[in-house]
Each structure stands twice: as C-alpha cells, then as structure tokens.
C-alpha cells in the first residue's frame, strides 16, 4: 500500500466517486421524487417545480406519525430484547464449555440464512392461535430471528478476545463477578455492542415480510405503510417517496452518529489477537 503517486491517487478517487454515485443514486432519486407533484412525476427528470405538498399530505393526519412510532417501538423493543438476551448468550458461548455449544451457536446463525417466507406460514397460524397476531410483542418476538444472531455472533468474538485472566484479576482485586462484568467487560465490548445493535436495528427497521404478514391493522410499520400509497386507480409516488425518505432518516442519523464505532466495532472482534 502507501502509493503516493498523484495519478493513481486520482484514479482511486475517481473510482470511489463513481461507486458513490452508483450507490447513492437511488437514494437521491427517491428524495427528488418526494419533492415532485404527481403531475410532474413522469414528464420531468431533474427540472421541476419543487413542492412540499407530499410531506404536507403525509403529516396532514396523524396516521403516518403513528406508523413511524409503531416502527420505533417494535424496532427499539426488538433490539433491546436482543441485547438483554444476546449479551449473556454470547458470553456463555465464549466462556463456558458445554455440550452442543457449537451446534447451538450455529443454530442461532442459521436464523439468518433461512428465508423469512419459509417460517412465515406456520408462524402466522401459531400467532393467530395464541393471540400474538397484530401485536407489538408478536413483532418484537419474531424480530429476534433477525437481530439476535447478529448480536450473539459479533459479541461472541469480543468476549473471546478478552482473556479470562482479566476477569480473574478483577475478582482478585476485590470486585464481585457482576461488578467485573459491568466495570471491565462491558467497556471492552462496547464498540462491538454498538455496532451490532445498530446493524440489527437497521435490519429490523427495514423488515417488510414479517411486518406485513404477522401484523394487521393494529401495528402497521412504515415499511408496510408505504404500500398504502398504491391505490386501485393510481400510485402516489410522491407521497410514497416522502414516506420512505422520512423512514430512512433515523438509520442515516444513527449511522452517522456512531460511524466511528461501526467500522472499528465490526472489524475488531473478528481479528484474534
């Protein structure tokens, strides 16, 4: 590495710029559409009369705010439950030796590669039967399939990186196990925890399938709500784009805020010392 040749540097930057354009264009397009009138939707490309009409319609009733809050409750709830369950689980997988440990860990991971549609039908029936259908808790629960594996697998690497002697030293220094965990272990896994929590938040926030099929009129999330702008006679692209733009905002803001942790957090646990 360390190539300081100005020409190759230029080339590198050009390539990065090109990729950024490619990756960000859909986002840019979406924001553009959100400022267009429905009548200008198909006959203008970049030049049009920007309007806030779409956003006004969106917030004219409390409906959209309700969907947005639903998504917040469900996603935050899912991530919190995952942290409460996942941190001890990751610790146990890293520290203790028990029968079927690797199988258990793999099972958690396998949640991530099973397609959601595979489990949705039985889950739908079960949820109907036990009254979890269309409830916050029902969605939070099913979202564990998405968020829990992330937290467990990222944090397991972190816990394994902390030598058990550090914990022992804390004990000998006069701290109870619980205090050692809070004072010494938690600060050390914090970057990983932040990164894992954020990632799983994004995945849960964006989830469509579970929210669509396991919730009805009671708990509509923003992802599902964007379908509402498709009616039988017309599609309100402008309002849809505005809705989606707003719903993408929390992720963007969160990612920017903890960018520093994100890169470090994801790479650090993976590399063994």
């Amino acid at each position: 590495m360390g190539n300081t040749n100005p020409f190759s540097k230029l080339l590198k930057n050009a390539a990065l710029l090109l990729y950024a354009l490619f990756a960000l264009f859909p986002l840019f397009w979406m924001i553009l559409i959100s400022f267009k009138h429905d009548r200008e939707m198909f006959n203008t490309v970049f030049l049009f009369h920007p309007t806030l009409e779409n956003y006004k319609v969106l917030f004219s009733s409390n409906e959209y705010i309700g969907y947005f809050l639903n998504n917040v409750y469900v996603s935050v709830g899912a991530v919190l439950v995952s942290i409460v369950v996942g941190v001890p689980a990751a610790y146990a997988l890293a520290r203790f030796d028990f029968k079927g440990k690797e199988n258990l860990a793999f099972t958690f991971l396998s949640f991530r590669f099973a397609p959601e549609l595979l489990v949705i039908l039985p889950l739908f029936l079960i949820y109907q039967k036990i009254g979890l259908y269309d409830t916050y808790f029902g969605l939070i629960w099913v979202y564990q399939l998405i968020s829990l594996p992330f937290i467990i697998w990222i944090l397991r690497g972190y816990f394994e990186d902390i030598s058990p002697e550090v914990e022992h030293a804390g004990r000998v220094d006069g701290y109870s196990w619980w205090r050692v965990f809070l004072k010494i272990i938690m600060p050390l896994i914090k970057p990983g925890l932040v990164a894992a929590a954020l990632l799983s938040f994004i995945f849960v926030w964006n989830n469509f399938t579970f929210a669509l099929l396991l919730a009805g009129q009671g708990v509509i999330t923003t992802t599902v709500a964007s379908l509402k702008y498709i009616s039988s006679d017309t599609v309100h692209y402008g309002q849809m784009a505005a809705a989606v733009t707003i719903s993408a905002l929390p992720e963007v803001i969160l990612a920017l805020l903890i960018q520093k942790h994100l890169v470090r957090g994801l790479s650090m646990g993976a590399v063994k010392g």
């Binding site: 030598s163 002697e165 022992h168 804390g170 000998v172 220094d173 006069g174 701290y175 010494i184 050390l188």
Partner: protein, 378 residues
C-alpha cells in the same frame, strides 16, 4: 499474613487431571516457590488458592479456616498473572489503583494516589502512569501487573511467573529486587516458576510439581543435594545431571559400582552401603552432577573411564562437553577454550562422594555420601 494449607487437593478439567492429591503447608511469611515444567499444574495450584478454580476434592485453608467456598474477592489475596491480565481500557495509574477502589478494599482517593506513586516508584514505572497498557513493552506491563499486587497488603501474594517475559538482564535485576522486597514485605508469597535458578535463589522452600503431583517439598539445598526423585534431580541443574544405571558388585568386604563396564574402581560409600543393604538392592541409579565429573585427555590413573568426545558447546565463560561412553552420553563442564574435537579420546573421573543414589525400580532417592544439604534422610 497467613498460613496456607492444601490437603489432598484434586482439580480436574474434564478428563484432564490438573492437580492430583496435592498437599502443601505454607508457613506465614514464607517465600514458597512452586516449580515445575509446563503443564505441571502450577497455575492451577495458584488459581485454587486464589479461589478462581474450585477443587473437586480436598480442602484449602487459610489461617486454619477452610476457604473452599469463599469467593476470590473475599479471600484477600493479590495475584500477578502470567499474561499480566491488565485492564486494557484503563491507564497504568487506574490499573494499579483498581484494587484500592474496589468495594472490598476501598481507600480514600488521596491515599490511593500516594500508594500508587509509591509502588510505581519502586517498580520504576512512575513515568508511565498516564499510558494505556497497549503502549507499554512487555517488561513494563509485567511491572504494572506487579504493581497492582504490591499496592495492597494482602494475606498472601500469588505470583505466576512474574519474571518470565523480562529480558535476561532485567530478570536478574528483578530477582535480586524480589529477594529484597520479600524481606521488607513480610508477607507470605507463593511464587510459580519454571526457571530452576529463580526457584533456588528466591525460595525459602520449593515444591516441585510434575503432572499434577508433588514430587518433593524442601529447602533449595534439599532439592539440589537430595532430590527425592530422578525427575527432581534432572529438573535442577544445567547441564542436566548424569544418571547411570550401576550394578552392585561385591568383592570381599568391599562393594563396587559397575559403572559403564568398570566394576573395579567405584567403591560404594559407607553411608550409602548400609541403605542399599537394608533395601536389598542389586542395581541402583547413580546421579553425577556435571561439575562432579573431572576429565583428562591422558589416562592418568586407573580409576578413569575411557570415553570419546561427542560434542562440545562453548557458552562463553564455560562449555558443555558431552562424552560418549558405553552407549551413554555424559555431560560435564569444561573451560570454553578447550580443544575438543569430536571423537577425541577422553578420560573421565567420577566423584562418587558427591553422587546421588536412586532406587532403580522406583526412581526415588536412596542416599548420598556427602553431607551437604543438612540432615541425612534415608
């Protein structure tokens, strides 16, 4: 300040037995060294005393009280870990201060400052207090980890190879300082090492551990001059002791050792003879320290054994000369400037009066002729 005792302690990790019926009695203010090769169970032994590992069998007592079920934080022990076990996210100051800030051993902040600086000064790391452990060299980390223990006044110091990662010069210096420190601290210290020089120079008493069992507990003199087993004899001393199998040959009133085919010149010493007689042994194992074998390139006297130079390793101030005789390799110490090409004939003279005798079947100590090492035990 504490007496510590282990009674028949057994610790297993799954199928592997790390400690097997270990009993040790450590007196108050003693500097007790635990010596053994890698994997002998030394660290496990410390962990059992610290309360980090709980033994399956046996009891651990402190001042006569059974502490098996007492948590590590309540045992008032200070431990230095082999891999330092510093807290990576805390500065050197906070690392050393950590025990004094714990709920169990809390001190006022002004006192902490004073104590940390005092200890840091002794260990000469007072200029590193603001750094993180990742910004230190291994030797400095080791001293921080020592500092974290020394800042306290515990019942006992447990030290797991605290000098291993230092370079030779610093190690020597720290060894001397340890001796000095121990005299001032007045606290029981249990010190684990695999370096026999450290063990001999520091220990009031030494326990030799092998595969989870105690081979011998004794003073450095006991261990060196009266090793309980061949294992102990081989572990202490560099180059290693020469162990030869010798038959007992009775000629008239005198008994001779049949050493490497020569049964005419090695008289069994009087003190040894009575023990052998008692045990009715026909063969024994005889151990000669390399320094107790003299050599010559000319056949000076009848009692010399003919051998051939096998290898010659100059080590600066001295050299290790390995000779080949009767299918055995014999190590001895020679001056470094010796001209000893391989296969050159060499004549060896064994000093039987300094030899250590072992039972050929049990490989355990029988007797030695010389009186060094205190009392004479059969």
């Amino acid at each position: 300040m504490a007496d510590i005792a282990l009674k028949q302690v057994t610790k297993k990790y799954k199928q592997h037995t790390a400690l097997n019926g270990v009993s040790i009695d450590i007196k108050d203010k003693e500097f007790f060294v635990i010596f053994g090769p890698a994997g002998a169970g030394k660290t496990t032994l410390l962990n059992v005393i610290a309360g980090i590992a709980v033994p399956e069998e046996g009891v651990v007592t402190m001042n006569g009280k059974v502490v098996n079920s007492i948590e590590p934080e309540d045992r008032n022990v200070a431990m230095v870990f082999e891999n330092y076990a510093l807290y990576p996210h805390m500065s050197v100051f906070d690392n050393i201060a950590s025990p004094l800030r714990s709920p169990r051993y809390r001190q006022p902040e002004s006192k902490i400052k004073e104590e940390v600086h005092r200890v840091a000064k002794i260990l000469r790391i007072d200029w590193l207090l603001q750094r993180l452990p990742s910004e230190l060299s291994n030797g400095q980390r080791q001293r921080v980890s020592l500092g974290r223990a020394l800042v306290r006044s515990p019942e006992v110091f447990l030290m797991d190879e605290p000098l291993t990662h230092l370079d030779a010069k610093l190690r020597h210096q720290m060894r001397a300082e340890f001796k000095e420190m121990q005299a001032n601290l007045n606290t029981t210290t249990i010190y684990v090492t695999h370096d026999y020089l450290e063990a001999l120079s520091l220990g009031d008493r030494i326990a030799v551990l092998n595969e989870g069992r105690i081979e011998q507990i004794g003073t450095p003199d006991d261990i060196y001059y009266r090793p309980a087993t061949e294992f102990v004899a081989e572990a202490f001393g560099e180059p290693e002791i020469n162990l030869l199998t010798a038959g007992i040959v009775r000629k008239g009133g005198e008994w001779y050792l049949n050493l490497l085919g020569d049964s005419d010149h090695f008289t069994v010493p009087r003190q040894v003879k009575s023990v052998i007689e008692e045990l009715q042994l026909e063969t024994v194992r005889v151990g000669f320290r390399p320094k107790d074998i003299k050599y010559s390139f000319t056949d000076d006297s009848a009692s010399m054994l003919r051998a051939a130079v096998y290898s010659f390793e100059p080590l600066g101030s001295k050299a290790i000369l390995t000779a080949h005789a009767g299918g055995q390799l014999i190590r001895l110490i020679a001056p470094a400037d010796l001209e000893a090409r391989p296969d050159r004939p060499i004549y060896l003279k064994f000093n039987v009066d300094e030899a250590i005798f072992f039972d050929e079947r049990t490989r355990r100590f029988i007797a030695r002729a010389g009186e060094k090492g205190g009392r004479f035990v059969g």
